[in-house]
């Protein structure tokens, strides 16, 4: 809990277990664990096993939980903290491998300064072996100009280089 508190800046102990977050959660009908349960487990001193909860990577970051919390607990920030710890501690991969998607996405940003859909999709598909998923949509999207073959070269990467360099140093320190 201390680690989560530290990363998210959120004081979890103020939770009253009213469960408004769980009742409003858009994915809670699909998950085994619900948001209020995550908080309760943290209050009771949960360890790394919490990182394997399905909600960690099924949370859509829609922030309905935060919007409705009477104690103003930023549950979305708590979930971000759990995901950051899960990646760092190499917690077990979950369906869809959202962590790999994030890495592929940010990889293209680091390289080009803007997202490059095709590069991101390629990197993600290689890692998840989902090569044929959605390939039927590709010709239509290309025709409609909804996906580009080449990345954008317009971005000024001055800040991007500084940001990613600094971030890498910081992550190593953590």
């Amino acid at each position: 809990m201390q680690v989560v508190n530290l990363i998210s800046g959120i004081n979890i102990s103020s939770c009253l277990q009213c469960k408004k977050c769980s009742n409003g959660c858009v994915v809670s009908s699909l998950t085994k664990v619900r948001p209020s349960e995550i908080i309760r487990r943290l209050q009771l001193g949960a360890g790394d096993e919490l990182l394997n909860s399905d909600l960690v990577w099924m949370c859509a970051s829609c922030e309905t939980c935060f919007a409705r919390c009477p104690m103003n607990i930023n549950m979305a920030a708590v979930m971000d903290a759990l995901r950051i710890i899960a990646v760092k501690k190499n917690a077990s991969k979950q369906k869809g491998n959202v962590a790999l998607f994030n890495k592929s996405f940010l990889g293209t940003v680091k390289m080009f300064g803007r997202t490059y859909d095709l590069g991101m999709i390629a990197a993600y598909k290689m890692g998840t072996a989902s090569y044929f998923q959605d390939t039927d949509k590709f010709p239509m999207m290309l025709k409609k100009g909804k996906i580009s073959l080449l990345p954008s070269f317009q971005a000024d990467k001055k800040y991007i280089r500084r940001i990613f360099k600094k971030k890498d140093i910081k992550q190593d320190r953590q």
Binding site: N74, G96, A99, V109, D117
Partner: protein, 290 residues
């Protein structure tokens, strides 16, 4: 009226139609949009999933560009809008964060560049009277479901867009254009957003519930103000139909496309040929209604 316009990465790919319609509508209203030269990605959801400082520094880099231009920022993408607002909020609130971001960027950014969504500019800055004068056509009673999604309205304290449970800003635009803005409960539900590639099963569940509710509420189309919502509801509609045994056929259009149509701008210029579910019935209706 002059603004720094931040298109966001999707403007170059899945949301080219959004980009085209914003530019066309702005031109009609004499709003000058200047893109910050060399703008970069805001980091979107993957950044805040990965590293808090990264998720603040990426949008802050673009806000710094706008600060140097001395202009307020206009955004259309709800994710960019949200990330920029969060960056401003955190930088203003916490001097330690401001210091760290400034060190990362190599220049001080004070967190004070104003960020507006294009729809806010239409209603609040252009105003009802001038908008009405610019309309040559009408939606002629078209039943539109205004769909806001998550990132514009939440968290309210940060985005200050509208009421987080029942926003009405887009509805008022629909009514102004002569459409019927339907009352429905899924205005701020989540479409599955960032799971567009990684958890298609979740997108199908959530977007199906939104499409189902719009259909049950008698909507003839859904109006959106976010590129992720558009992709999940439009491009995935075929998959949803297949997985759920439905036949929705609901056009998903950007609010700026509807505004553009009512201003007499051609559907091609608004990128309406790029919608997967054909918006032809809407176009025909508006063309007939002077």
């Amino acid at each position: 009226m002059k603004y720094a316009y931040y298109p966001g990465c999707s403007a170059e790919s899945t949301a080219r139609d959004q980009y085209m319609s914003v530019k066309e509508v702005a031109k009609k209203l004499n709003i000058e949009l200047v893109e910050p030269k060399g703008w970069t990605c805001c980091g979107s959801t993957p950044a805040h999933h990965t590293n808090k400082m990264l998720s603040l520094a990426l949008p802050a880099a673009n806000l710094l560009m706008a600060q140097k231009m001395g202009l307020d920022v206009i955004v259309f993408c709800a994710a960019c809008y949200n990330r920029m607002k969060v960056a401003n909020y955190e930088i203003q609130k916490d001097p330690a964060i401001r210091k760290e971001i400034s060190e990362t960027l190599g220049e001080d950014y004070n967190g004070c560049v104003k960020v507006h969504h294009f729809v806010e500019i239409l209603i609040k800055n252009i105003g009802v009277k001038k908008l009405q004068q610019s309309f040559t056509h009408s939606l002629d009673g078209l039943k539109v479901a205004s769909y806001y999604g998550c990132l514009l309205v939440r968290p309210e304290e940060v985005t200050q867009f509208d009421n987080p449970e029942n926003p009405t800003i887009m509805d008022s635009l629909i009514i102004l254009m002569g459409g019927e803005s339907i009352d429905w409960p899924h205005k701020v539900e989540c479409c599955g957003g960032g799971f567009a590639l990684s958890r298609i099963d979740i997108v199908i569940e959530l977007s199906n519930s939104i499409l189902g509710m719009a259909k049950a509420s008698d909507a003839q189309c859904i109006s959106v103000a976010c590129p992720m919502c558009q992709v999940n509801l439009d491009l995935r509609q075929g998959d949803i139909n297949k997985a759920k045994g439905m036949a929705y056929n609901l056009p998903i259009v950007y609010i700026t496309q509807l505004v553009g149509l009512c201003m007499g701008i051609s559907p091609e210029k608004l990128g309406m040929d790029k919608c997967v579910i054909s918006p032809k019935p809407i176009i025909e209706l508006v063309r007939k209604a002077y």
